[in-house]
């Protein structure tokens, strides 16, 4: 009788402990893959949000969402983009050629503070460090104050058309068509300067605006606009709206969350949540040069709620987005 009792007790105890001990042992005995948990920013965002790696070595990541569907991508490495589904483990491998600090971010509109879901990978190694750009950003070179208001000094009375402008472009001095000119000037600046050209004197204001549209269109291509559009819809439209009106799905809620949302960022006491910029507003857009928009996108809005994208988009991608932003003001930009 005693033997049976001992067997029954010991067996029950082994089984009870075993169902907990075995998973724990298996878990800790598993490889040293880095596990990243994704939660909406309000619940902590990426955990961990700093990872260390070595250049030239493969980094194995196990991505798990603890709440809703998120997406994962390393900035400027679009091939790393994967969906991270709740309760499932998504495994990916990433290899970095150069040391440096890389940013990973959420690619799905997971919640109000989706744009806060960022983390960094600190890649160490002997080779020269990766840098996003060797030169200073254009807005710094040009001395543009990104935070100053930039209302357009003039706005068109009808939507300027790049295709109409193309018909009159033969008289346009070449200097206006250069990339340097395009990037450094706002459409309103270009209009004012063209208006002052004696050769343009016979043209109506509307025709001069068409020439401005032509200059802007001549500095991009259909493929770039398509690329800009898809990047805009995936990353910007949540706040700025698919139609560029600043009425994205999160716009109202962000404004309502307002200061509270901003204060949740460390050291963000003096910041004010602002409504997303309306790209369909001519006074706003015709007063903004591509260099200014490039600076805003690269650096972010600094306390306005607009995140920085410099670590995420490549230079080419940023210029493509900018080209697309002017499609909200000019005809003939539809890809």
């Amino acid at each position: 009788m005693r033997k049976k009792e001992v067997f029954a007790g010991v067996f029950a105890m082994i089984l009870s402990l075993g169902v907990i001990a075995i998973p724990v042992l298996v878990r800790f005995g598993a490889g040293n893959d880095t596990e990243i948990h994704a939660r909406v920013a309000e619940s902590g965002g990426w955990m961990p949000d700093v990872i260390k790696a070595k250049a030239g070595e493969t980094l194995h990541l196990r991505l798990i969402s603890d709440d809703v569907v998120h997406g994962f991508a390393v900035g400027q490495m679009p091939e790393t983009e994967v969906d991270v589904e709740p309760g499932k483990v998504t495994e990916i491998s990433v290899e970095f050629d150069q040391p440096g600090i890389y940013t990973y971010y959420c690619t799905r509109w997971c919640g109000l503070n989706h744009w806060r879901m960022r983390g960094t990978i600190e890649v160490s190694g002997d080779s020269p460090a990766y840098a996003q750009s060797d030169s200073k950003p254009l807005y710094v070179t040009l001395g543009i104050d990104l935070d100053a208001p930039h209302p357009a000094v003039a706005i068109p009375s009808q939507t300027p058309s790049a295709s109409r402008g193309a018909n009159a472009a033969s008289d346009l001095p070449d200097a206006y068509l250069s990339a340097d000119y395009y990037r450094a000037h706002s459409p309103a600046d270009a209009f004012s300067q063209l208006r002052a050209e004696p050769a343009m004197a016979p043209l109506e204001d509307a025709q001069v605006w068409d020439l401005v549209a032509y200059i802007w269109r001549a500095n991009t291509s259909g493929d770039e606009i398509i690329d800009g559009q898809s990047l805009y819809q995936a990353n910007c439209a949540a706040c700025h709206g698919e139609d560029g009106s600043g009425e994205g799905v999160f716009a109202d809620d962000l404004e309502e969350a307002g200061e509270a949302s901003m204060q949740s960022m460390q050291g963000a006491h003096d910041m004010m949540m602002q409504r997303p910029v309306d790209f369909t507003d001519p006074r706003q857009m015709h007063g903004a040069s591509p260099a200014l928009l490039h600076g805003k996108i690269t650096r972010g809005g600094m306390g306005t709620g607009m995140p920085m994208w410099g670590a995420i988009f490549s230079e080419a991608q940023i210029w493509d987005i900018i080209a697309y932003l002017y499609a909200f003001q000019f005809e003939g930009f539809t890809p």
Binding site: A8, A12, L15, S16, P23, R62, I64, D67, K88, E91
Partner: protein, 459 residues
């Protein structure tokens, strides 16, 4: 039909090994559910703690175990097991001496007289029900609830005699007992006169053959299933072979209605919470769902207040009026036909007639549970292979997509169950009202009204 006449069945029921096997496996699963809640993914539909407790176990309990076996689940439930093993100082062994057969090794206190009812169980069920939206979806909260029940059961086994937790506190045990009355399975004595003359009453006091009834019931006095836990100790201890496990018609106990208010209230609590669950969990009202989920918010307090008022005041209040109206009708008839009416109190009428709500309540729970079990059953396969959401694929089913099954039969099946429940309740009302010479019509109308409401909520 007496099952225990079959020597094989009787042998299996008397042996402690089959029960021990159930206890051991289910206890391991229960502990794993707690572990999964704490250490597994916080995503409910991928966590063993949520899927196996609130979908798999619940489905087995409410769709199979309770309707067919009554307290069959209580006979194998792992929650009181560690406490009981500690109390007995044994996992398998019967008591070493007759004296130790009903005495626990610890404080062994008698449960207080004032609490010898199911009001505490009504309260514990309501407590769980109020937080159900968050318990049913959040693995960590589920783990806390399960662990609390385990520790509470252990603590009570060390302080109080026998299975006081199961009998007086367990939030699940209360309603299993209520609906066990409808089950076609019962444990009864074969001949009551044998019990009357039995010396020492080992079924209650225990012997070297087994422990005194853990459920604090004297089998000789059993008339309904409510408090018999089907643990089979009396089958082991009865020196006269006077205990039988019988197959019987469904709902046989309902013809012996209880006049106890705590049991009557249990019927209202279960009926009302099934309707509120259907509205919150299956209904289209988003703000109701979020109010139920946001525990501690102003909206949740409103929800909690409405929940309690509906269950504790509105439903019983309406039923009270219906019973009074029924009494008024019978009084009119009494005057015109000079029928002699038995002298029962309004409170006793209320409690007795509330028995009619038992089949209906069970039907409500079956219909409600069918809906979410068929909708979410596919999570069981997924979670079986990856119970902790750690990326395992033990049986190759981790990638099973969420897929509601048999949805085309859901609405007809639910309707059938509700109509069946109503018919069964109406029949019970008719019999029980006749016994106390009341008119059953108002009770039947009440049952019809709540059935229609539930049909609307579900369909």
């Amino acid at each position: 039909m007496e099952l225990t006449r079959n020597p094989l069945v009787k042998g299996v029921l008397k042996s402690r090994w089959p029960q021990w096997a159930f206890f051991t496996v289910l206890l391991a699963m229960f502990l794993f559910a707690i572990f999964a809640g704490i250490g597994g993914t916080p995503v409910g539909n991928h966590n063993f703690g949520i899927v196996f407790v609130w979908i798999a176990w619940w489905a087995i309990l409410i769709l199979v175990a309770v309707p067919l076996f009554g307290r069959g689940w209580c006979a194998v439930c792992p929650i009181p097991v560690p406490g009981e093993w500690l109390q007995r100082g044994a996992v398998l062994d019967p008591p070493p001496t007759n004296e130790q057969a009903s005495k626990g090794r610890w404080l062994n206190l008698r449960w207080p007289n004032k609490l010898r009812n199911i009001w505490l169980q009504n309260t514990s069920f309501l407590l769980v029900a109020l937080f159900s939206s968050i318990i049913l979806t959040t693995p960590q909260v589920t783990a806390i609830v399960l662990a609390s029940m385990l520790f509470l059961a252990i603590g009570m086994s060390l302080v109080f005699e026998r299975r006081s937790f199961c009998r007086y506190l367990c939030p699940v045990g209360g309603f299993i007992g209520l609906y066990a009355q409808t089950a076609p399975l019962e444990l009864r004595t074969k001949d009551k006169s044998v019990c009357v003359s039995c010396e020492g009453k080992p079924c209650y006091n225990g012997s070297q053959a087994g422990y005194g009834c853990p459920w604090q019931v004297f089998p000789g006095g059993l008339t309904k299933n409510t408090y018999c836990g089907l643990c089979m100790e009396c089958l082991r201890t009865c020196p006269h072979d006077n205990i039988a496990v019988n197959i019987r018609p469904f709902a046989a106990d309902l013809s012996k209605p209880s006049a106890r208010l705590d049991e009557a209230y249990k019927a209202f609590i279960m009926l009302g919470s099934a309707m509120i669950y259907a509205a919150v969990l299956l209904g289209p009202w988003g703000s109701l769902k979020s109010a139920a989920y946001q525990v501690g918010s102003a909206a949740w307090f409103v929800y909690a207040a409405v929940f309690l008022v509906v269950i504790l005041l509105a439903l019983p209040g309406a039923f009270w009026l219906v019973v009074r109206f029924s009494a008024y009708l019978s009084l009119l008839r009494q005057k015109s036909q000079s029928v002699i009416r038995r002298n029962t109190s309004p409170r006793s009428d209320f409690s007795r007639l509330a028995t009619a709500l038992i089949p209906l309540g069970l039907a409500f729970w079956v219909a409600f549970s069918l809906s979410f079990v068929l909708t979410n059953g596919s999570y069981i396969l997924m979670t079986l292979s990856d119970p902790l959401g750690w990326g395992w694929n033990l049986f190759g089913t981790a990638q099973t997509a969420w897929q509601p099954v048999l949805t085309f039969v859901l609405a007809p099946l639910q309707s059938l169950v509700l109509v069946g429940g109503f018919a069964w309740s109406a029949r019970t009302a008719q019999k029980n009202a006749a016994e106390i010479a009341l008119s059953p019509a108002p009770i039947i109308v009440f049952c019809l009204a709540v059935t229609l409401l539930m049909l609307w909520l579900l369909l």
